[in-house]
Amino acid sequence: MANALVNVPPRARRGEVIEIKTLISHPMETGYRRSQLGTPIPRDIVRLFVCTYNGTEVFRAELHPAIAANPFFVFSTVATESGTLAFQWTGDNGFSATESAAITVD
């Protein structure tokens, strides 16, 4: 159900450094706030983001409560071979979202 936007260049030359952008829809509720009735709002955040390139992990980030809603990551990797970049977000309350993008390297 979660919406994610990823931006991976569809083609790249071998050895080229490519920039990858990801955006995930998530409220990132800190757990420190209280509702208007004074009851604590439980924490609900994305805990971990992992990007794998043909099965090899190329980027990993641990997230914490101070990160704003809809976390946005920009990172780079070296285009080594054609294949798939897979993205996975996991978090509180069993949150899990995946997205993938294909890249052709020549």
Partner: protein
């Protein structure tokens, strides 16, 4: 000095001629979108469709557009088809006159009219995720198109009400919208640039809100800021003010979903 005298003369002449120009009104050529007052980074965020968090709402709105709902079991797409064609330019024309209620309705209200009458589904709550997503999706189809509010005899009284509200001092601070947005735009208020209040990017993703929000949410914010009691969502006064602001921004390009600090 002589320039300001000429401007005053011109404004007076216009007031006499059309009865519409107000002193201090921003000349057409000097109008600037809130986009121009933002930092380079925030502008880049709005321009890049994979960095603009408002696009998450558009994405969700696209899903809702195609989903069958309500007792009629119809999706928006069943009547309107491909939104890229059927919704192109629609957001640039709203608020628009609604013949049934005999008053202007904004885009959110128009979507809810469709929901309750055509889909026979319950109306979506103002500022609910679904309504913002659908509005963002519809508004996105008008990106880059000029705002074009049709003013006829039926709409004119509501436009006049909106204009009066814009120039009326209100709240404990006794401020009119125009005192900030006509007279002092470009200056800073508590470190933030004062924009000209052209609603070109709504619904916007406001970084402070960390979510999408409607123009009415923004207007209510301003009302609280001048210590006035904010109108309820959907109140006729807010729609009239929206109508006036959109008319005031006529010809400017729609940026929805905008990003604002």
């Amino acid at each position: 000095m002589s320039g300001s005298f000429v401007r005053l003369l011109a404004a007076t002449a216009l007031t006499l001629l059309a009865g519409t120009a107000f002193p201090g009104e921003i000349p057409q050529a000097e109008r600037r979108s809130g986009y121009d007052f933002m930092s380079r980074e925030t502008r880049a965020m709005q321009d890049d469709e994979t960095a603009n968090p408002g696009m998450l709402g558009v994405l969700e709105g696209g899903t809702l557009w195609a989903r069958k709902t309500g007792a009629a079991g119809r999706a928006c797409a069943d009547c309107h088809g491909d939104a890229r064609a059927s919704m192109k330019g629609v957001a640039a024309r709203y608020p628009a006159f609604d013949a049934t209620s005999k008053r202007p309705v904004n885009l959110e209200q128009r979507i809810n009219v469709c929901r309750t009458e055509r889909q026979q589904a319950p109306a979506l709550a103002y500022e609910s995720r679904e309504l913002l997503a659908l509005t963002a999706f519809v508004a996105r189809q008008s990106r880059g198109l000029p705002i074009d509010i049709a003013v006829d005899a039926r709409v004119q009284p509501f436009l006049d009400n909106g204009r009066a509200a814009f120039y009326r001092r209100q709240g404990q601070l006794n401020l009119a919208c125009s005192q900030c947005h006509d007279d002092n735009w470009g200056k800073r208020l508590a470190g933030n640039a004062i924009p000209q209040a052209h609603p070109t990017g709504y619904p916007v993703y406001r970084l402070e809100w960390q979510s999408l929000g409607s123009l009415q949410r923004r207007l209510r914010n301003c009302l609280v800021g001048i210590r006035a009691e904010p109108y309820e969502y959907g109140a006729p006064e807010l729609v009239e003010l929206e109508l006036f602001l959109m008319w005031r921004a006529r010809g400017m390009a729609i940026e929805a979903p905008g990003v604002r600090p």
